[in-house]
C-alpha cells in the first residue's frame, strides 16, 4: 500500500512539525535558548563530530529553526534547508561554500537592488567576482562562462520589475558549464514557482517577504535540491575534500544528497555566524501555514489592480507579467500559472515628480522598503532601494526614475483601488 502524497497546503501546515515530545504542545514551541545539554561526554563528542542527530548551540541549529527548515525544504521539493538571519546572509553563506578568492559567478542583471550592491561591493572585497548577464537574453549567460565560473544566480520573479525568468533555459546553461544554478525564489514563493522542478540546484529566499508574510521578521533560507554532484571535478573543495575541523570527514561522501545544506550549517553558519533567532523562526513558521491562502489573495488583488491601473489616464505603462500582452506573460503562464505574484511596477506620464506625489498622497499603501507584507506597500525604487545606482544601471536593473513599485497586500481590492484613485487625482 502506498500513501496518498499530501498536497501543498497540507505540507504548509504540517511539514517538519509534530507535537513536542516532552510536553505534547501541538504548536512548535519557541526554543529560546542558546545551548542544549549533552547526555554525557560521548554524546557531546558525537554531536560535535557530526555523528549524531541533535542540538548543540543555537548558532549552529535550534529546534524551532529546524521545523522551519524542513517545512520550506518540503514546500520547495528539496532534500534539506538551512535558515539564516536574513536573505542576504543566506546568499553570503551559499557563495562562501562555492567560491574562493579569484573565482567568478554569473548573476542576472535584474535583481533586488540590495543583491546588486552585495555582489558588486561586499563580494568584490572577498575576491568573488560577479559577471552580469541579461535574463532576457539567455546567450549572455553562455558568453559569460569562463573556467573560473562557479555558479549562476537568478531571481525567479525579479524584484522590482516583476519580470519572469526562463529558469529552464538558464538551468541548461548551468548544466553545460558544470556549475550549480541558484534561484532566489523570494517573490514567487514555492506556492507559485518551484525552481527545483525546473532545474535549480539551490534555492534561496528572503523569508522576510511572502513566506513570513506579515512584515514582522527578517530571515533567510537556503534549500538544497540534492541534484548537484559536488565531487565531480574537485571544483568545490568545501564539499569534496576532507575537512580538518571534522577529523577529515568529506561532507558529500558522508551526507549524500543533502550535503550542501549540511556544509552551509556546519561550515558556513558555524564560522560566519548569521543564525536566525528562534522567535523569528517561530513567527515565519506561523506565517507559512497560511501561505497558499495569502498568495491566492495577493495574486488576485495584484491582477485586479494592474488591470485597473493599465486603463488609468495618468499611467504610462504597467509591468505585470500577469497581464495579457505583457512582455513576460508567456513565461508567467508557463512558470507561474497560479498567478504572477504581487510585486509589480508602473510608470506615470508625469515622470519622477508624479511618482513622488503619488507616494505622498496614498493613505492605505505604506511607503517603505519591503515587499510581501499583508499590508499593501509602495516605493519609488529610483530614490530608495536602487538609489546607489546611476541612471543607466537603474534602467538596466528595472528601476527607471519614473517608475513606482507596488507590493499588493491582502486587503479588499476595492479599497486599494480607491486609495490609488484618490492619490492619482490629488
Amino acid at each position: 500500500m502506498t500513501d496518498r502524497p499530501p498536497g501543498f497546503s497540507t505540507l504548509a501546515v504540517h511539514a517538519g512539525a509534530q507535537p513536542d515530545p516532552t510536553t505534547g504542545a501541538r504548536v512548535t514551541p519557541i526554543y529560546q535558548t542558546t545551548s542544549f545539554v549533552f547526555n554525557d561526554a560521548d554524546h557531546a563528542a558525537s554531536l560535535f563530530g557530526l555523528q549524531a542527530f541533535g542540538n548543540i548551540y543555537t548558532r549552529i541549529g535550534n529546534p524551532t529553526q529546524a521545523v522551519l527548515e524542513e517545512r520550506v525544504a518540503a514546500l520547495e521539493g528539496g532534500t534539506a534547508a538551512l535558515a539564516t538571519a536574513s536573505g542576504h546572509a543566506a546568499q553570503v553563506v551559499v557563495f562562501q561554500m562555492l567560491l574562493r578568492p579569484g573565482d567568478e559567478f554569473i548573476a542576472a542583471r535584474k535583481l533586488y537592488g540590495g543583491s546588486i550592491n552585495q555582489f558588486t561591493h561586499a563580494f568584490q572585497s572577498f575576491g568573488w567576482n560577479v559577471a552580469w548577464a541579461d535574463p532576457d537574453d539567455i546567450s549572455s549567460f553562455e558568453r559569460a562562462v569562463t573556467p573560473r565560473t562557479k555558479a549562476i544566480f537568478i531571481e525567479s520573479i525579479a524584484n522590482p520589475g516583476g519580470s519572469v525568468t526562463d529558469i529552464e533555459a538558464v538551468a541548461a546553461v548551468a548544466r553545460k558549464a558544470g556549475v550549480p544554478l541558484i534561484v532566489d525564489n523570494t517573490l514567487a514563493t514555492p506556492y507559485l514557482i518551484r525552481p527545483i522542478d525546473h532545474g535549480a540546484d539551490i534555492v534561496v529566499h528572503s523569508l522576510t517577504k511572502f513566506l513570513g508574510g506579515h512584515g514582522n521578521s527578517i530571515g533567510g533560507i537556503i534549500v538544497d535540491a540534492g541534484t548537484f554532484d559536488w565531487s565531480k571535478d574537485n571544483k568545490y573543495p568545501m564539499l569534496s575534500e576532507p575537512r580538518p575541523e571534522y577529523h577529515g570527514i568529506k561532507i558529500q561522501e558522508t551526507f549524500g544528497n543533502f550535503a550542501f545544506a549540511i556544509a552551509c550549517r556546519v561550515l558556513g553558519l558555524r564560522d560566519l555566524g548569521p543564525a536566525i533567532s528562534p522567535f523569528n523562526a517561530f513567527l515565519i513558521l506561523t506565517g507559512i501555514e497560511t501561505l497558499p491562502l495569502r498568495m491566492q489573495k495577493h495574486c488576485e488583488n495584484a491582477k485586479a489592480i494592474a488591470e485597473w491601473l493599465s486603463t488609468h489616464p495618468a499611467v504610462a505603462a504597467v509591468n505585470y507579467a500577469g497581464l495579457l500582452g505583457d512582455k513576460y506573460n508567456n513565461l508567467a503562464r508557463k512558470y507561474a500559472p497560479k498567478g504572477a505574484g504581487a510585486v509589480f511596477t508602473f510608470s506615470l506620464k508625469g515622470g519622477y515628480d508624479a511618482g513622488v506625489n503619488l507616494v505622498s498622497n496614498l493613505k492605505l499603501f505604506s511607503h517603505l522598503a519591503n515587499v510581501g507584507d499583508t499590508r499593501s506597500l509602495v516605493i519609488h525604487p529610483a530614490s530608495t532601494t536602487h538609489s546607489q545606482l546611476d541612471d543607466a544601471a537603474k534602467i538596466k536593473s528595472g528601476a527607471a526614475p519614473d517608475m513606482v513599485r507596488l507590493s499588493i497586500g491582502i486587503e479588499d481590492k476595492e479599497d486599494l483601488i480607491a486609495d490609488l484613485e484618490q492619490a492619482l487625482s490629488a
Partner: protein
C-alpha cells in the same frame, strides 16, 4: 525491482523487520561513516555485528570483529556492505553461502552493483543499493529533522524521547514516493549528461 528510487514502504518494511545486522567494512576509527552508522543502529536497538578481517581480535562498541560473514556462526537478518561498488560482488557471493542466508542485502550510500543485486534477488533476498540505513532510519523516524533535513514524512502523533536502545516508530505518513523529484532528476542527469 527498480533500484533508482525506493518507495518509503519498501525501506520501512526492511528497517521494521530486521533485528540483526552484520556490517561488512565496519571501521573502529571513530570518524569514519561506517563507525557512526554502526553506533547509531546499535543505539536504535539493532543487534550489530562488525565484519572486518583487519580488526579481528578487537571489538567495536563491545562487539567482537569477525573476519568474514561465514565466521558469524548464527543467523543474521541483514548484511550492510560498507565497501566500494567494485568490492560488492564477492561479499554478496559469501552472503549467499551463509546458512540460513540473510533476508536483506544493503549497499551503502555511493555503492551499487546491479549484477550482484540481481543474483541476490534471484536467491529470494531483498536488496537496497546506494542508501545509508542510518539516514533512512533517521528520515522515517524524523530524527533527522533536527538537522533541517526533509524527512518527507508527516505525523500528528507525539513521539517519545529516544533513549539508548529504543526502536522508534517509522510508520509516519510519506510525503513522496521513495525519492524527491529532485534526486530522481539528478540520477537521470547522471546517465544522460547534457
Amino acid at each position: 525491482m527498480n533500484h533508482d528510487a525506493y518507495d518509503d514502504n519498501y525501506i520501512r518494511a526492511i528497517l521494521n523487520g530486521v533485528k540483526s545486522i552484520a556490517m561488512v567494512g565496519a571501521s573502529p576509527v571513530n570518524v569514519r561513516p561506517s563507525y557512526f552508522a554502526f553506533k547509531y543502529l546499535a543505539q536504535r536497538g539493532y543487534d550489530m555485528i562488525p565484519v572486518n578481517p583487519g580488526h579481528v581480535g578487537k571489538s567495536l562498541l563491545g562487539k567482537p570483529f569477525v573476519a568474514s560473514l561465514l565466521d558469524i556462526g548464527r543467523p543474521v537478518d541483514m548484511i550492510d556492505i560498507f565497501r566500494n561498488s567494485s568490492h560488492i560482488g564477492p561479499v554478496v557471493d559469501e552472503a549467499l553461502k551463509m546458512t540460513p542466508p540473510p533476508k536483506v542485502i544493503w549497499m551503502q550510500l555511493g555503492a551499487r552493483d546491479d549484477a550482484a543485486a540481481a543474483k541476490a534477488e534471484a536467491a529470494g533476498l531483498t536488496v537496497v543499493m546506494n542508501r545509508c540505513p542510518k539516514i533512512e532510519y533517521g528520515r522515517l523516524s524524523s530524527e533527522i529533522s533536527w538537522m533541517g533535513v526533509n524527512s518527507r514524512t508527516l505525523s500528528s502523533k507525539r513521539a517519545p524521547m529516544p533513549t539508548q536502545g529504543m526502536r522508534l516508530s517509522l510508520n509516519r505518513m510519506s510525503v513522496g514516493g521513495g525519492e524527491t523529484t529532485a534526486s530522481d532528476r539528478a540520477a537521470k542527469n547522471k546517465n544522460d549528461p547534457a
